[in-house]
Structure formats: C-alpha cells, structure tokens
C-alpha cells in the first residue's frame, strides 16, 4: 500500500486503477455496481475519473482509497464521522461491549443508559426509541404521529429529504406508486403562510409536519429559518393538533447538543437522530414528548439488529465525548475557519464562492454560473489533489480536523480555483469574489 500522505501538487492526477477494477467486479454481482447514495451517479462524482470509488481504511479526518490515495474527508461518510474515524474513546467503549455481547436474546443495559443520556441531553426528549437508520426514525415518526392523531396526512417541505422509503420519495420514481405518496402535502421552506393555508384547507387531516431544522436540500443553497418562522410553526401545530417532527438526522449534534430545535428556539414533539450519534456505529433514534409516549408504545416497529449493544455503547461514548469537548462549537469554529479560507482562495482568482448552511455542515456553490459546472470543476480538482469535496450535497466537519488539515485544504482549493478560473475566463469577475454565508 502506497500512502500518499500529502496532497498532490498542481497538475498531478490520482490513479484509481484498483477502484475501477473493483467496480468492474462489483458491477457483475451488485446492481449498478455501487447502489444508493455512495454510487458514483448519486454521489455526483463529476467528472467520474476525478473520484475514487472504494475506501480501504479511515482514521481521524482522512480516508484512504483502495489505490492508497489519502483524502481529507469533508463528507465524513455523509455525516456519521463526527469525532474522527476510529476515535479511541468510542472504539474502547465499543470493544468493551463487544467482549460482553452485541445482538443478544434480550436488550442490553446499554439501551436504557443511552435512552437516559438522550433524555438528559436533548431538550425535546422524554423518551427514546432506537433503530438503525435515519429512514427508520422518520418512518416511525410518521407512524407515531398517525397513531396519536388518527389522521393520515403528512406535510413535508419541498426538496427536503427524509430517507428512501416510498413515502419519502416522489411517485414516478422506479418502484414508487402514486398511492405511496397520496397522503403527502408539500410546502416551500420558510413559507409560513403556505403552511397555514394548507392547514386551513385540510382541517383535522394532517397528522404531522416534518422538516429538517434548517433547509439543506441537495443541489441548492442551504437556507436557515427566517426570524420567527419556527415559533409560528410550533404555535400553528399546537393549535391544530398537528405533531411537529424535526428531522435532525443530518444536523443533530453539529449545531447544539440539546438539539437543533433548541438552537432555533422551538420544541418539537418528535425529533429524529442518526448520523452523528454513534460516530459510525449503526444506530438511529426517535425521541419525543411525554404526550406521544403512549402512541410510540402502541406502534409495532422493530428489527433484527435494533437491539445491538455495541452501537449503543459507542453512541453513549460519542455523545459524552461530544458534550465534554463541546463538539458543536468546535466543529462550527473549524468550519468557519475552513470556509473563510475557501472563500478567500476563490476570491484570489476572481471566483465567487457562496457558502451556505451552518459552518459545520457547509454547502459550497460557485455563483458565477447557475449550472454547477464550475462548482463541479472545483470539487473535482480539489478531490484529485486530496480534499474530498462534492458539488451537490452539504459537507461535514468532524472534531478531529486539524489546523494543518484546514491549511492544506485551503492551499488545495487555491490550486483548484486557479484551474477553474483558467477554464472559465468568460464567467469570472475581474474583481474579487464576494463572500456570502449563513449564520454563526
């Protein structure tokens, strides 16, 4: 294994021969080779030859592909890596539990302790229910809301993401029926009046309003809630008996340990968690209010591996460690320093980089064209130089990211923006790029 420990200098490109060979094998035995969000199509690896397909190992803020190339990882496994890959505190807790037992004939002590920890940590949590993936949590939230209200409909934010179960997708997609989404209603993000109208139009029909705490769609700038938005939404839901469910799967513990809702000043009835709570160990949770405890008890919802004690031990260690080091503050500070550097690097070449969302989950877009082609050129050039970036999705910061990593990334970005500027002379401004960003 060749460990390319440093980013490559300008003009060099990485070899992905082993990735490609493995993909050819995968395509023989796995539909599409790599299905789902890590597939080269869905992950928007554009152009395809700029990206590796398979990882060999990971540590801290880095992963190494099967060709031995090292990358500073700004996708963090699409969120689960929050303390750094192979964090010793988490790994020790997981290993200790592994020796005792993982998936057993009965639930473990860890399940109770993790539920207690979540209730102590998250403002909205008076109980916790565990499963494996974010989609499990959002689907349970919908079921609990329906069980509690006796209503069918769910209001969702247009272009929001709550998983891959048929009800979360759009009819017309392969395998998704019109009936699967027949009870969904949609509103635009931040448009309270639209939501209010929808509630008026469907009296006593809406079981749940489900939304991420701020809007982080793919391919679009991320948007924070308008002042007063959540307060009004909360009041509207309370007034009409609608369950308010926040999907904190992506932002959970990257904004505030007490929940992103706490940060934005509202208290949801249900909150969905997954990515950051186990530092890569597979676990998700739905937490909720006292009023919904009975409904959550009555819903039958389970899975063969949902009681695994190792991920629960890892989650306890992860949450305690994040609290100890004030992980959200740390990640947002690192994210701020990084994105400030990226905006400056872009500006040096006349490229306008827009940073949106929260610094610990920044979304990048070059605003000099509306097609994302310049953004795709930038992320591809950066990835080939060792900073793993994509053009369609928000990125993630983890607490192990060092000042050296940030400096290296900004240096890589500088080289990448130079190429973008050279390739697009007709698009870039002659002056400096203008910074634009979200809060914090």
């Amino acid at each position: 294994m060749i460990d390319n420990g440093h980013h490559l200098s300008t003009g060099e490109s990485r070899g992905y021969e082993e990735s490609r060979a493995l993909f050819r094998r995968a395509a023989q035995v796995i539909p599409s080779g790599i299905p789902g969000h890590m597939g080269p199509v869905q992950a928007q690896f554009i152009p395809i030859d700029a990206y590796p397909f398979f990882a060999e190992r990971a540590h801290g803020s880095y992963f190494w592909d099967v060709d031995g190339n090292r990358f500073i990882d700004y996708l963090c496994a699409f969120g689960p890596n929050v303390l750094g890959y192979n964090n010793p505190v988490v790994e020790e807790a997981a290993e200790r539990q592994r020796r005792l037992g993982d998936t057993m004939a009965l639930p473990s002590r860890q399940q109770v302790e993790l539920a207690e920890l979540l209730c102590d940590t998250i403002t909205a949590a008076e109980w916790a229910f565990f499963m494996k993936n974010g989609n499990d949590a959002t689907t349970l939230a919908l079921m609990v809301a329906r069980a509690a209200t006796g209503r069918k409909k769910a209001v969702l934010v247009r272009n929001g993401y709550h998983g891959v179960a048929p009800w979360t997708q759009h009819s017309g997609r392969p395998g998704v029926l019109e009936e699967d989404t027949a009870n969904n209603l949609y509103v635009d993000w931040n448009d309270y009046e639209q939501l209010e109208q929808l509630v008026r139009d469907h009296p006593n029909e809406i079981a749940v309003f489900m939304s991420s705490p701020y809007h982080h769609p793919v391919f679009h700038d991320n948007e924070l809630p308008a002042p007063g938005y959540w307060e009004k939404v909360q009041e509207l839901c309370r007034r009409h008996g609608i369950v308010l469910a926040v999907d904190d799967i992506r932002a959970g513990f990257r904004l505030n340990m007490a929940g992103s809702a706490e940060y934005f000043g509202f208290v949801p009835d249900l909150a969905c968690y997954c990515k950051a709570i186990g530092n890569g160990y597979n676990i998700a949770a739905l937490v909720g209010s006292e009023e919904l405890r009975d409904a959550a008890s009555r819903v039958f919802y389970t899975g063969s591996y949902w009681y695994g004690a190792v991920p629960m031990a890892a989650a306890i260690a992860t949450i305690n460690e994040l609290s100890r080091i004030d992980g959200p503050r740390l990640m947002n500070e690192k994210g701020r320093r990084l994105t400030d550097g990226l905006v400056k690097a872009a500006s040096d070449w006349g490229v306008t980089l827009k940073v949106s969302g929260i610094p610990s989950m920044f979304y990048l877009r070059i605003t000099d064209d509306d097609s994302l082609m310049m953004t795709q050129e930038f992320t591809a050039e950066a990835t080939q130089r060792g900073a793993f970036l994509v053009s369609h999705h928000n990125h993630f910061i983890n607490t192990s990211l060092t000042e050296d990593d940030i400096e290296t990334t900004v240096s890589i970005a500088h080289d990448a923006f130079r190429v973008v500027a050279q390739n697009n002379p007709e698009r870039i401004s002659t002056g400096n790029g203008v910074e634009s960003r979200g809060i914090l």
Partner: protein, 260 residues
C-alpha cells in the same frame, strides 16, 4: 393505456421529425428527394397541423407557431386530413389512408416521394436483423432513433396527462444531449414545458454525453446498464443534474407512446 392523441403528436412531431435527418444519412433518401419541391400539410383533429416541406434533398417539418398558428414553411401543395388521432396513427402505421383535402393532382408525386421516404425511415427505426452488422446503418439508425425519442419526449411531457405533472418537476434550463463529435440535440425547459431542438446550445444548464453512438444506442434500446456505463465513463453528465433526474420518469414513458 395509450392516449391516441398523445401518440398522434409523437408521430406527427417526433417520428416525422426524423425525416429531416434522413437525406443526410441515407443516399436512397437523397435520391428520392432530389429535385423535388413538395409541401404537404397533415391535419389531425384535437391534435394539431404539421407541415412537411421536401425541397431539393432537404426536408423540414414544423407545427404552427403562436396563437395565430402561422408557419414559416410555404403554403402546402397537398393537404391530408384524418378524422381522428387514431386515424392518423393508423396512417403512420401504414394501415389506413388519409383524406386528401387539397392538391389531388399532386397525390401521385406525394406517393412516389413520401411513401418511400417513410419506408426508409422505418428501415432505420425498426432494424432488420441483417442490417445491424453494417456500421453506417447502425450509426444512422441510432441518430434517427435519438431524434425521434427526444422529440417524442417533449410532446409527451407537454401533452400526456400523466406526464404533465412530472414535467412540472423538471427545473428550467437547457439540457444538452450529445455524442462526442457527432449528433447534438437539446431540450429547453421553461415552466414545465419542453421543446426539443437540433444542435448544440451555447450555454446548457446540464449536459448528458455519450462516448460513442453504440452507448447511446444501448440507452435508446434499453439494453444499456446505465449506472455501469456512467461508472465506466462511457456516458456521463455534468451541470445541474436534477434536470436529468427529473426527466428520467418522462424518458421511461417514451416507449409507451411510440408504436411498434
């Protein structure tokens, strides 16, 4: 269930549109249309009118533009009417005859030109087994099929009841379809309405490219493993990819609205 009205639009503005390319790729068609000057208008109730002009080995097809329904092509020498969309579809399938409303004296000329042209088009769109081996045939067949498919796409998106809602989800912009150093077609999208145009757009919002005609052919005939093809670099996309993603369900509806 096939909507005959939509299928008629696909036949009128999708299948017949490919006649425009035929003389370019097919020597027989060039010979048929050499020294010909003939303009024919098809009238299909509840669908539209379509005017086809054959002039010295060049063929142009257009529908009426704007509210007034005007054409840029010359006045028709021959007007052929159908009593219904189903009737027109049967005409295209070679099962029925249209009703001549104007230019009866030119019908013989039309029969000697239009009929053999549509036979040549059929030859390329429905490949006979022994023709596949010839690369020139194969290339022409792929180009013509792509032309039909992408023009059909716009008709379906704009007029098929089940597709109109899907089309509303396609973001505004232009999506360019191109094969390296070969054909180019683009689809303009504005407020859920699609328009297919020949050529290369100067500033597309999204590009779907194919490394060669064989890959495009596999996609059009449904034999290509798309994800594998992208993974292996035989095709790819760049730009605002939600345009392609939201267009996929519409692309799936093309075979439903094309005849045999």
């Amino acid at each position: 269930m096939v909507d005959e009205r939509v299928r008629a639009r696909v036949n009128l503005f999708g299948v017949l549109k490919a006649l425009e390319l035929l003389p370019e790729y097919d020597a027989v068609s060039r010979e048929i249309t050499d020294s010909v000057d003939l303009c024919v208008e098809f009238r299909v109730p509840t669908v539209d009118r379509g005017r086809l002009h054959i002039h010295n080995s060049r063929i142009r097809l257009e529908g009426p533009a704007g509210l007034g329904g005007s054409f840029t092509l010359p006045k028709p020498h021959v007007v052929l009417a159908c009593v219904s969309p189903r009737h027109f579809n049967a005409v295209i399938d070679g099962e029925k005859q249209p009703i001549p409303l104007k230019g009866i004296r030119r019908l013989g000329r039309l029969r000697n030109t239009f009929n053999p042209l549509t036979e040549r088009l059929t030859y390329y769109l429905r490949p006979p087994n022994d023709a596949i081996a010839h690369s020139s045939y194969h290339a022409a067949s792929t180009r013509l099929t792509a032309c039909v498919a992408l023009h059909a796409l716009s008709e379906i998106a704009n007029h098929d009841r089940a597709s109109v809602e899907l089309a509303r989800r396609v973001p505004d912009g232009t999506i360019q379809f191109k094969v390296h150093s070969d054909i180019g077609l683009y689809v303009e999208v504005k407020d859920g309405r699609l328009r297919t145009v020949f050529g290369e757009h100067e500033d597309p919002r999204c590009i779907l490219w194919f490394s060669d005609l064989e890959t495009l052919d596999g996609l059009l005939r449904g034999t290509l493993q798309i994800y594998q093809a992208i993974g292996s670099g035989r095709m790819g996309m760049k730009g605002f990819v939600p345009m392609v993603e939201s267009m996929n369900p519409l692309l799936d509806r093309i075979p439903l609205n094309l005849g045999e």
